[in-house]
Symmetry: D2
Amino acid sequence: MSRRAATARKVLLTGFDPFGGETINPSWEAVRGLDGEDIAGHRIVATCLPTEFGRSRRALRAAIARAEPGIVLCVGQAGGRAALSIERVAINVDDARIPDNAGRQPVDRPIIADAPAAYFATLPIKSMLTALQGAGVPAEISQTAGTFVCNHVFFALMHALASRRTCRGGFVHIPYLPEQAARHPGAPGLALETVQRGLRILIETAATTRRDRRIAAGATH
Amino acid sequence: MSRRAATARKVLLTGFDPFGGETINPSWEAVRGLDGEDIAGHRIVATCLPTEFGRSRRALRAAIARAEPGIVLCVGQAGGRAALSIERVAINVDDARIPDNAGRQPVDRPIIADAPAAYFATLPIKSMLTALQGAGVPAEISQTAGTFVCNHVFFALMHALASRRTCRGGFVHIPYLPEQAARHPGAPGLALETVQRGLRILIETAATTRRDRRIAAGATH
Amino acid sequence: MSRRAATARKVLLTGFDPFGGETINPSWEAVRGLDGEDIAGHRIVATCLPTEFGRSRRALRAAIARAEPGIVLCVGQAGGRAALSIERVAINVDDARIPDNAGRQPVDRPIIADAPAAYFATLPIKSMLTALQGAGVPAEISQTAGTFVCNHVFFALMHALASRRTCRGGFVHIPYLPEQAARHPGAPGLALETVQRGLRILIETAATTRRDRRIAAGATH
Amino acid sequence: MSRRAATARKVLLTGFDPFGGETINPSWEAVRGLDGEDIAGHRIVATCLPTEFGRSRRALRAAIARAEPGIVLCVGQAGGRAALSIERVAINVDDARIPDNAGRQPVDRPIIADAPAAYFATLPIKSMLTALQGAGVPAEISQTAGTFVCNHVFFALMHALASRRTCRGGFVHIPYLPEQAARHPGAPGLALETVQRGLRILIETAATTRRDRRIAAGATH
């Protein structure tokens, strides 16, 4: 039993702390409620990352080293988006419109010098999209994770995993919670329960899918 | 007991049946779950109206005659909106972009000949807005209920109430449910629980507020 | 000659002065360029109205008294809209989110006491829509002119015309100019030339159309 | 004189032919009108690329070989965007929601096998943004060029230039023309003249700017 636990595969699931004037971050609200759950033979380990350039990716690296996961799914807030937004690609640049939680605001700076310009997610994003839609959870593929701390962490994740063939990774943006949307006229709000149901589906699909489906979900521009 | 029931004030709460290719209508899903509840001394009577010009307003009139309510709140689906959208005004025109559920598609036809061009809601819409926002439910004042069956019913409601000083009325549009939004890329989806919590707040506020607050919630255009 | 001029039918075309932090108002920029033109036997008289509750409608009434027009078309800025937006209905309420140019910000106040709740435009809005679309000018029917000074003037116009059977009236909202849009990220900008071409088509259609077309151009909500 | 012409630096400016049911493509309409112009000591050479995977990038390579330009700016249509949208990054994937003009619809296929995951534009995109805004042309930095033929060509361009230190390149998406927008309700339309003025500014800025400005123009998500 203890042996089995010791060898159980792990999913590292990360959220962020609040930023940009919000008092909560829906990513951490959603993620922390799943900590310790077992999904498709994987134990979920939830971690909260600081919304700070630099510190966030060091915290992520430390969490990966601790958990030795087979899957890493990072989750971040995308106020204004309406759906669970599965990111396709992380790009090697920071360009911050607002300061991070430490007051830093890098502009057009590589995240990691001498690293590639971008990494694609290695999770089966199209199968994940299909699974969410089939379960009635609003979902989409996104072609950009922006240039703020979310993309920063996503890029650092994929860079770290580039040398680890045994671990796959990806990123999903989530909408405001309804109580946040209530303060942002016009912005969609998705219920915590719906987001958590979606995250469970994403993890199960990632855990059980080796070969992604080929379904068109691109953008004409 | 029977006496008390006989004298209890009623709230007539209406939803619609599905239209436009949907298999559910969130308005009826939300409304029917509240049937029989007591809120601020009012008993909720829920009724489903057909999404049809003409038949819908006859069904509404019949429901008003049966329930003799002190408050009528009609609820309709507004796919694409993100918030509980409290309508300010109903206008005396049908102009249907799509056929109703009976296949009729009136264009630029008065709803009721010789009736006024418009009626304002008589519920305290600004107090209702404030109450929703304070409770963390996404909400807004809307300056138009469109020109389809929702506006048709809203106009017919206010016309019927114009001669009854003892009953106040209004209309609220609600977003898609998440499972509907999952089939409409980019459209917001609000959870049934959030909508129902919002409807309870709207009814309580309407029941307990005589004089509306003066808070700016207009539109520059 | 002077006789002919004296009896020529007139179109009163109004724009507004800048508001809300803008240094120009596209409505007046467009309108003043058409002053004195002859379209379908009508002479255009252009007037600039102040973006102020009260003063704007007194200025409008004075301009109508001076010009004795057969057609009045009021034009206003709708920053964020993408098309020439032909308004269907004016409602009898002021609800200002921002102060007008005199610093006044009325909330939920009737524009004219004892006047009807609303007036419909008496210009052939569907024929005007069709004519614009046929000429390649972005156009739409709008079900609300908002609750700021534009709606205020539109309502006052239709109230003034209600007792004059010889004059028809309406309102059209126009987008930002490109140079304004350049300062409002995401907002559409329509070229002055396109707007003016559209206004000429609107006036010609209004002047030559007695019976409007019945074409669906409503909104489901 | 002929000698000078022979050694004059060139700007290769490309547009696309119509796709997706349109009868014109604003990119080629705008670009062809600038053919032969001289801007900041550079002669513009305009070329039309087919909206086809594969053929488009071969046509681009041939045009580069012919013109031997110092700058390449590719221009494409982005129906629904409101501004001149300067692209930051091209990614190595085709994912077509609609078939290209040859009926092909690749899904999740690398554009160039063994090439990097992405390339950043090498033109001074922030200086270009600032110049457009200063001239009153609606402009923005875009973090994704999509996954259709525009991104395909942009990626192929940057891959071709990666081995040519003497030539810099980039991509700009432009809105519909007003006559196109007239057929797409809600979509912005920007006048041809405004687009062409913008393109001249982009080329002049690219030609005269060696070191880009550091101005925040990223996206939080």
